[in-house]
């Protein structure tokens, strides 16, 4: 600060404290001969008196006002090129939307007039136009079709397909959506976005306002103009994040790109609401396709829960939640959804994009799997009933007898509310079948219940694929009526080619009857329909075992353990397969691993280890038998028979197989192909037993 300035400053402030009438004298006194000083102070004083409102309102207020009223509204009958305005149908951050008639083609179109404000950056506009062109080139039924982009002397406009429908926002205001509607809308949106991502376009502004729903249920994504072209890199969107150094992605190069990115962000993405914004967007970081995955996840969450996952009372609270809070599970919001669905949504809205679905295709695939597992939603109109049904289905999917008993309750409750819901009977039948695998004396009772339920399902709806599939399952596993069972499976697949249960159980059936080359493609179809089903993966391994393709079987079982570490069934198979191969070292190693995974007491494991050191695998077999007989009697006579075969006690093995037969243990269907019983083949008692089971 110069001394002169300091002097001016002091005089100015002091003079203002002096009454205006006294100022002249005051300055005379202070400035004396310094004319320049006096002139400076006087001019500042007069400037300060003259103006009162100067700088009194914040800069932002000075700026926004002049824009007001600039965009002229179009009235019905106004023309825009060869389009005649019919009326206004909406307005948004980017501009107003009108419906219009194309006089040349006589068709109805939508006209969006871009805000003046929007094209304040010319580069923005250029980019917008370019990307709108790209989006229109996507030509996907779930993306709004853009017919034309044009300009008049004072504005730019977009002519697009006219959609006679409502935005998802309007729909959500009117009513609650059913789960199948939620899935339908989600799948269509994900599908369109997947296509866009493959073309390296990300939308960045997915929200209910930008999804139109036609009366026929068609969903259309709007406003692709805000989309961002991501750099082509490795062919996948998620791998092509915009460089962080502010360099351009996509087609526009040069110095303007930093501003461009920010200008665009300011315009498009966080205009108005932050409810659908991904955390990386909120932080102003570069975004990639996974931002759309987050936003779509937030939309799906809202369709179910009625509010977005991180919603707060204000934008800033929402932003805080976005970084600090976890979304409420649906259950705590009083909404019941299948666990799988809960997991799907939670994965889509993970804070860290590395933990989300990595591609829109992956999300789409899970949505589809969920949808096909709920394709049975025929015959019930009640949402509550449907939730109950889906809960049951989820539990049945684990193939655990304990879960299956819980599933029985869900299905029975569903049936209680809707006694003509065929799919619930089919689900109930399957739950009983799985529950019966848990052993105990109630097997025949459960199987009778299962059969009743399956028949009831088909009485209500003879075209229900799953009904035929579960009936076939009972005929195959319990009644050992192999001919009838195969007819049921074929009927099920014919009626519902995507019936996962039919393909899965038919695959197992084909292995039982030794048709391995047919069995493997069948089980593959089953887990293509439901890639998350662990049970199907295990069945695949079991088929390979029965087909004596031991190496492949263990590759498969180990894969199961890798994908589903909590699934212990596969472990039990691995050592058995090594045993069949004659690789006892490995068999022992995996036996111990299996025991540990099943939390077997350490002293038992030590017993095995001692036996292994003393007498090798044969000794271990003796110990296994000893352990089994010392415990409460098991209902799995088939497994006990195997234990006797292992130690060469064939008579006892036969005895237990007979018991398994009398108890109609489902494993008996494997008898003709199970490699374990090879030592018994040729024994007339064994061959007679195979015939008794009715195996072809």
């Amino acid at each position: 600060m110069t001394p002169q300035w300091q002097q001016v400053k002091e005089l100015f402030n002091d003079a203002l404290d002096v009454a205006p009438a006294e100022r002249a004298r005051f300055l005379d006194d202070k400035c004396r001969e310094d004319v320049e000083l006096r002139r400076e102070v006087e001019s500042l004083l007069s400037s300060s008196e003259w103006e009162t409102s100067f700088l009194e309102s914040p800069a932002i207020a000075d700026l926004v006002e002049p824009v007001k009223g600039k965009g002229k509204r179009l009235e019905p009958g106004d023309s825009l090129g060869h389009y005649e305005i019919v009326g206004q149908i909406g307005s948004g951050g980017m501009g107003e939307v009108y419906s219009a008639i194309d006089r040349n083609l006589g068709r109805q179109v939508a006209v969006k007039i871009l805000n003046q404000d929007f094209n304040r950056h010319e580069s923005n506009l250029r980019r917008f136009i370019q990307e709108a062109k790209l989006a229109s080139a996507l030509n996907h039924p779930n993306i709004l079709v853009i017919h034309e982009i044009g300009e008049t002397t004072d504005s730019h406009y977009i002519i697009s397909e006219f959609i006679d429908g409502k935005t998802l926002r309007e729909v959500l205001k009117e009513r609650t959506l059913s789960l199948s509607e939620v899935l339908e809308i989600s799948i269509q949106t994900a599908n369109a976005l997947a296509v866009a991502h493959r073309a390296h376009l990300i939308h960045r502004d997915i929200k209910p306002e930008n999804i139109m729903i036609r009366p026929d249920g068609y969903a259309k994504i709007l406003d692709f103009g805000l989309a961002k072209l991501v750099e082509q890199n490795g062919g996948s969107v998620h791998a092509s994040a915009e460089p962080t150094d502010g360099q351009t992605a996509g087609t526009i190069a040069g110095d303007e790109t930093t501003t461009l990115r920010q200008g665009q962000t300011a315009h498009g993405v966080i205009l108005g609401t932050v409810n659908y914004m991904s955390p990386e967007q909120a932080k102003g970081e570069p975004v990639d396709g996974r931002t759309d995955i987050f936003s779509l996840g937030a939309v799906i969450y809202e369709m179910i829960a009625g509010r977005t996952p991180f919603a707060g009372d204000s934008n800033s609270e929402t932003l805080a939640n976005l970084t600090n809070a976890e979304p409420e599970p649906f259950s705590s919001l009083g909404v019941r959804v299948p666990d799988e669905f809960e997991r799907l949504v939670a994965k889509a809205v993970r804070k860290s994009r590395d933990e989300r679905y990595q591609t829109m295709d992956a999300l789409l695939s899970d949505l589809r799997a969920l949808s096909s597992s709920s394709s049975a939603k025929r015959g019930t109109v009640s949402e509550d009933v449907y939730w109950l049904y889906l809960q049951g289905k989820c539990l049945v999917g684990t193939h655990s007898p304990v879960d299956a008993r819980a599933a029985v309750e869900y299905f029975e409750n569903a049936i209680g509310l809707d006694p003509v819901f065929a799919a619930a009977y089919a689900g109930l039948a399957q739950a009983h079948v799985i529950a019966s695998h848990g052993g105990g004396g109630s097997q025949s009772e459960l199987m009778n219940k299962a059969k009743d339920a399956a028949n009831r399902a088909l009485e209500i709806d003879a075209s229900l694929g799953e009904g035929h599939a579960v009936l076939g399952e009972i005929e195959y596993l319990y009644e050992w009526d192999f001919e009838k069972a195969e007819k049921s499976f074929l009927q099920a697949v014919h009626l519902d080619p995507r019936c996962e249960l039919a393909h899965s159980i038919y695959g197992e059936y084909l292995a039982s009857v030794g048709r391995f080359s047919e069995a493997i493609p069948e089980i593959r179809i089953a887990y293509e329909i439901d890639p998350k089903s662990c049970a199907n993966q295990v069945i695949h391994g079991r088929i390979l075992y029965l087909a004596r393709r031991f190496d492949e079987a263990n590759v498969q079982f180990k894969r199961v353990i890798e994908i589903f570490p909590q699934w212990t069934t596969a472990n039990g198979w691995i050592w058995l397969v090594y045993e069949m191969k004659g690789d006892y070292d490995k068999a022992f190693e995996w036996l111990i691993i299996n025991q540990q995974r099943n939390n077997v007491p350490p002293d038992r494991i030590e017993t095995y280890e001692t036996a292994w050191r003393q007498g090798g695998w044969g000794q271990v077999g003796e110990k296994m038998l000893e352990m089994e007989t010392s415990q409460s009697p098991t209902a799995n006579f088939y497994a006990t028979a195997r234990n006797y075969v292992r130690v060469g006690k064939h008579d006892l093995a036969m005895e237990f197989l007979k018991k398994a037969f009398d108890n109609r243990q489902y494993q008996m269907t494997w008898l003709n192909v199970d490699p374990f019983f090879d030592p018994l083949r040729g024994d007339p008692r064994f061959d007679e037993l195979v015939r008794s089971v009715g195996l072809p």
């Binding site: 110069t2 100015f12 409102s53 914040p58 932002i60 102003g284 800033s316």
Partner: protein, 189 residues
């Protein structure tokens, strides 16, 4: 913004500068809140139609601030200083682009001497000229320039400005009074 909130900001900015990346996540929503409050305090009452533009500008400011990864935040005051500069830059850029737009639209550009006759109209302020004048003022009196940034571009009250600059309210009031007189004279010259 409450006392605790501002203290919180300081604390978290320090943590963040100290290498705690999580602190940034916590501070940004508060900052957003603060920026929004500043802008809407004035606008909400008088110009309810402009919330979208406000939001847009605030969002832009927020994003720019969020991008200041390389800055070593020292304290709350340092932060608000930077925030005010960011706001200034954004608003002046905004004015520039609109200025260009007007030219492009064959409208008569607002000349500086028009400002004299329009002096009673608060909205005819030429932000671009003001920005240049403010640079000149900063050379003469850095504190006055900061007061203008905080007051005019960030929309803070005198009390808050005093708090941030660590001077008395009277001092701020005097600085502000003179800066306004000086700038106004510059703009009407």
């Amino acid at each position: 913004m409450t006392r605790t909130e501002t203290d919180e900001i300081t604390l978290m900015l320090r943590e963040w500068s100290g290498g705690n990346a999580g602190a940034l996540d916590k501070v940004l929503p508060l900052v957003y809140n603060e920026l929004h409050r500043q802008a809407s305090r004035f606008l909400k009452k008088e110009r309810p139609n402009h919330t979208i533009q406000t939001t847009e500008l605030i969002n832009e400011a927020y994003i720019k601030l969020a991008g200041q990864h390389s800055v070593q935040w020292q304290n709350r005051s340092h932060f608000f200083g930077i925030a005010a500069q960011v706001m200034r830059r954004i608003l002046v850029d905004y004015a520039r682009s609109r200025h260009r737009l007007k030219r492009g639209g064959n409208e008569v550009t607002l000349m500086l001497d028009d400002a004299v006759s329009a002096a009673t109209d608060e909205r005819s302020i030429d932000l671009i000229a003001l920005d240049e004048a403010l640079d000149r003022l900063a050379e003469k009196d850095a504190q006055q320039a900061r007061v203008v940034e905080l007051r005019y571009f960030s929309g803070l009250e005198l009390e808050e400005v005093a708090n941030i600059l660590g001077v008395s309210r009277t001092t701020v009031s005097r600085e502000w009074r003179m800066a306004k007189a000086w700038l106004r004279r510059e703009l009407t010259r």
